[in-house]
């Protein structure tokens, strides 16, 4: 909830600077990406610490990804474009960074719907496969950030490196499983 509190205080004290709408949008965009990274860290953490608490946290973190991504999207649609659908549609179809961001958000929907224990039990193995979509979402999210930057920027690169490392950890783990398996 911290990100929400921080921005609310900024709005209240008029601390958002020259482009408040952009600032709000970017704030939630960045927190979406941070929560994606946190969500992806949970199963490696479980491996290294052998504690299962991480997996319990994972669901909540994942839902936060969807929560912040939705506010991010809403800020863009509502604050920036005032629900003026024509330019929004144009952006989604023609601007590749919006297209991929929007795709990431769409992919988050089935993950959120099936996040409960109950759905996990119903879907069984399929749940595992379905929730691998978070890897795709993570890659889309970092591409979104890279593509919206005008040239080589520091922050999108850092996030991309973190995401690549987190995904690479999984490949290694798998290989180990195969070796021992």
């Amino acid at each position: 909830m911290w990100p929400l509190t921080a921005i609310s205080l900024d709005i209240y004290y008029n601390e958002l600077g020259a482009e408040p709408v952009k600032k709000i949008m970017n704030h939630f965009g960045e927190w979406t990406l941070i929560f994606i990274c946190l969500t992806l860290s949970m199963s490696p953490l479980k491996r290294f610490t052998k504690l299962s608490i991480w997996i319990k946290l994972r669901r909540m973190l994942g839902l936060f990804v969807f929560f912040y991504a939705s506010i991010h999207l809403l800020a863009y649609i509502g604050l920036d474009y005032r629900f003026d659908w024509q330019p929004i549609l144009n952006d989604v179809l023609k601007k590749k960074y919006i297209f991929i961001g929007f795709s990431a958000w769409l992919l988050l929907i089935p993950l959120s719907i099936t996040s409960s224990q109950k759905m996990m039990k119903i879907l069984k193995n399929k749940w595992k496969i379905l929730h691998k979509l978070i890897y795709v979402i993570a890659v889309f999210g970092s591409l979104h950030y890279i593509w919206l930057s005008k040239t080589i920027f520091f922050k999108p690169l850092i996030y991309s490196i973190i995401i690549v490392v987190l995904l690479a950890l999984r490949i290694k783990i798998k290989n180990k499983d195969i070796n021992y398996g």
Binding site: E19, K95, W147
Partner: protein
């Protein structure tokens, strides 16, 4: 393509044209230099909108100036110790005489006037800024461009010691920009030496920068050290970085989208969280004065 040769524009015509736009700005000729305290109430007008001058705190803290870093706050934070004196500007290339002038010489050679222009950034935001300066044409004429001078290339200082952004390959340094000679000779094309009735702050391109109000902001080079008249179209740093996104002309044009951003509308800086985007106008509202430079040109192709 119909071009007005700059030699055809007599000083008198320029004077009349300038009076015309001064009138548009809503000032009488007598009160061109206005104090900072008056500025809050001043308006800049263009064809279809009346807009408020952007607050100074935004003009001086929200800048794209990658020599100092890519964040909007980098220029103000990292440029305060930037040394702008002594500073020489060389005007050379296809000219009758190469000249090198100090900033002080330039400032004292021409009457400095207040010019309130809209600034439209390619990222989709805009400001209205009271610059202090004079037409670039006057400076170029000091060096007498020769018949081969078809384009003008502007080079920003290269000094990675003082400009942290230049230590990274964000763009090809030094920053280069260019104009066609008739664009450079247009009376709206301004050499800027001041802002808000005062010295030009470092983060806004001190000691001397360009302003081309009908083009996207990045065309207006900052901290210029060299103005070179050339025969061939120069390649700007942005064209080199991404030729599909940034063309040589880069005129403000709501009908030609940038691959990243729609250019149909813009956010007005300082207008607050609840205000809407406003539609972007052709040539940033200066069409009546500059459209003739491009008659017969396909502006979709020559973006």
């Amino acid at each position: 393509m119909k071009k007005i040769k700059y030699s055809e524009i007599t000083p008198e015509k320029i004077y009349l044209k300038r009076r015309e736009f001064v009138k548009k700005l809503g000032f009488s000729t007598g009160s061109l230099i206005i104090g900072q305290n008056m500025i809050g109430d001043a308006f800049a007008a263009n064809d279809n909108l009346q807009e408020k001058i952007t607050e100074r705190r935004y003009v001086t803290t929200y800048n794209n100036y990658y020599e100092f870093g890519t964040r909007k706050s980098d220029p103000v934070e990292k440029s305060q110790n930037f040394k702008t004196s002594p500073w020489n500007i060389a005007i050379n290339g296809e000219v009758e005489k190469n000249i090198t002038l100090t900033v002080d010489e330039i400032k004292s050679s021409f009457p400095i006037e207040e010019r309130i222009y809209r600034l439209r950034c390619v990222e989709g935001w805009s400001m209205v800024i009271p610059w202090m300066g004079f037409s670039l044409k006057k400076l170029l004429e000091k060096a007498s461009p020769n018949g081969k001078a078809k384009f003008v290339e502007f080079t920003t200082v290269f000094d990675p010691e003082q400009m942290p952004g230049q230590r990274y390959p964000i763009l090809k340094w030094p920053y280069k920009e260019g104009l066609r000679i008739d664009e450079a000779m247009h009376p709206l094309t301004t050499i800027v030496t001041g802002l808000y009735g005062k010295e030009l702050p470092n983060q806004n391109g001190a000691p001397l920068r360009l302003i081309v109000p009908w083009k996207y902001g990045f065309k207006s080079s900052k901290a210029i050290v060299n103005i070179k008249l050339v025969e061939k179209m120069p390649t700007s740093s942005w064209m080199q970085a991404s030729p599909k996104e940034y063309g040589f002309y880069s005129n403000v044009n709501p009908r030609v989208d940038h691959p990243r951003w729609s250019q149909a509308s813009e956010r007005v800086i300082g207008s607050g969280i609840l205000s809407e985007r406003i539609p972007t106008t052709m040539f940033n509202g200066y069409g009546d004065q500059v459209a003739n430079l491009y008659s017969g040109m396909d502006l979709k192709k020559n973006f």
